[in-house]
Amino acid sequence: MDMHAPKKKLGLKEKYQVMTRGLDWEPSYQKKEDIYPYATYEGIKIHDWDKWEDPFRLTMDAYWKYQAEKERKLYAIIDAYAQSNGHLNVTDARYLNTVKLFLTGVSPLEYMAHRGFAHVGRQFPGAGPRVACLMQSLDEIRHAQTQIHALSNYNKHYNGLHEFRHMHDRVWYLSVPKSFFDDAITAGPFEFMIAIGFSFEYVLTNLLFVPFVSGAAYNGDMGTMTFGFSAQSDEARHMTLGLEVIKFILEQDPDNLPIVQRWIDKWTWRGYRVLTLVAMMMDYMLPKRTMSWKEAWEVYFEENGGALFKDLARYGIKIPKCAETIALEKDHLSHQAWGTFYNYGAAAAFHTWVPEKDEMDWLAAKYPDSFDKYYRPRLEYWREQAAQGKRFYNKTLPMLCQTCQIPMLFTEPGDPTKICYREVDYKGGKYHFCSDHCKEIFEHEPEKYVQSWLPVHQIYQGNCFPEGTDPTAEGFDPLAAVLQYYHLEFGRDNLDFEGSEDQKNFETWRGQATKNV
């Protein structure tokens, strides 16, 4: 890059004043509470909005300039990658399943983040956070668009990417990320900021983007690496917004502390549960691995998050209590998740497989206390069964947690041999939970979470079949009907990687790329 840095007429601090608060005005013929109707009902007390300041002091003129530069770089690389058939340079075709999961599970959340920040940017009475939220809202729609553009190139060649938006609203495991964001966006503006701006962006986003993007680079996926880094270049600003907002709220009034603490506890756990998908991707789905889930958790949560919470202790903020449970799960999370997807590989829009021997050795080295003891024997058993033509596919539907919507696959804290079940009776109904934390979240806001659209319940109620389906007809196959409703093609988009069309096509095309045939 060779950018022109002209001599400035105003210093950074002056320019920030002029371009944020300088553009704001006091309403004269409308009441403030009518203009900002959501600003007080959550109980957060703000006395002086002018105390909020973006430490980057980024103004809209500079924003457009740098974002335009990012876009120019990004699209030049995406075009070059597509023109040179870059998809054939990925390590092996199993890798592609990570981008399928990303496009169906994460990209639609970027769009929801765009909507969420547009909303809170409208609702906050302070000019400083409004400008920062406006920028983040624009960033998020850019992320959604660039991810869709970059990954559309894979859709020309591989299965499972063709209906990502349709699937996001329907497919069972995608209800986990979808309901997470729907939960955040239906909260008030302050809770949304703590949920997404602080807990997700500051505490957890490094765990999603840094290993994912670095992993994409390591596995030869230049397209994903490029949109990932381009998005990540905005994340530093998002994280800063999250941190500044929390400091601002806590400094404004001591009564805000208990409300904020409860939100941090809730959203750190909610976000962590969504990252189960990332844990599995890092440990099982990247053919060439960068770091294990456990290592990433230790660097980005325990070390980095530890420093953050130590710093926030001066306001009375404590590290979320779920951190203890998470520490007990870190040796098990990815293995339990991958085991579940291997079971339900007939109902997923990506392929699953048993890791190769060298991959199991890597897992054993990274997880010396758990892998060989609990998880290798099961994977080896599944491999033997598959070799005998009995590849195991689970045909019964799992019970889901009412809060996080993940199948009840997690084990008791401290006992990896026993599934963790919790339940609550509420107004004559029984509700099930994967953990104490999801149960507590429900108990605090039951009227919100009784409304969860749980895919398994919906299937059993007959709401997930194509229109006109007759479930009483002779020979009715419920799984086939559900997959049709998902727009998931049986035998192409799902089942084991071994023998898949993706596997065969990739092999053929890579062969053609290196030989004259």
Partner: protein
């Protein structure tokens, strides 16, 4: 003292930036990962515009850092001349 960090894409734009940071912050550690560099420092890390300009041979606006930034942690203070990350505890 807690650790702050800043991470950049590893490319030709960031090479002089990373060199400048390493020289201005002798206590910082460079961790190289595929396609990226993460710089960790106890307590505090400072990025100086003048040090980057010396290496680039042209004027530099510290906000250009945004183009290749991946992540960071710590409280930020940015002026025309310096960009600083720090923890209070």
């Amino acid at each position: 003292m807690s650790t702050v960090f800043i991470a950049f894409q590893a490319n030709e734009d960031t090479r002089p930036i990373i060199e400048a940071i390493a020289e201005d912050n002798p206590h910082a550690r460079l961790n190289e990962a595929p396609a990226m560099v993460k710089i960790d420092a106890e307590g505090r890390l400072t990025v100086r515009r003048s040090s980057i300009e010396e290496r680039l041979g042209r004027d530099f606006d510290l906000q250009e850092l945004h183009v290749n930034l991946i992540s960071l942690s710590g409280h930020i203070d940015e002026t025309d001349d310096e960009f600083t990350l720090s923890w209070n505890a």
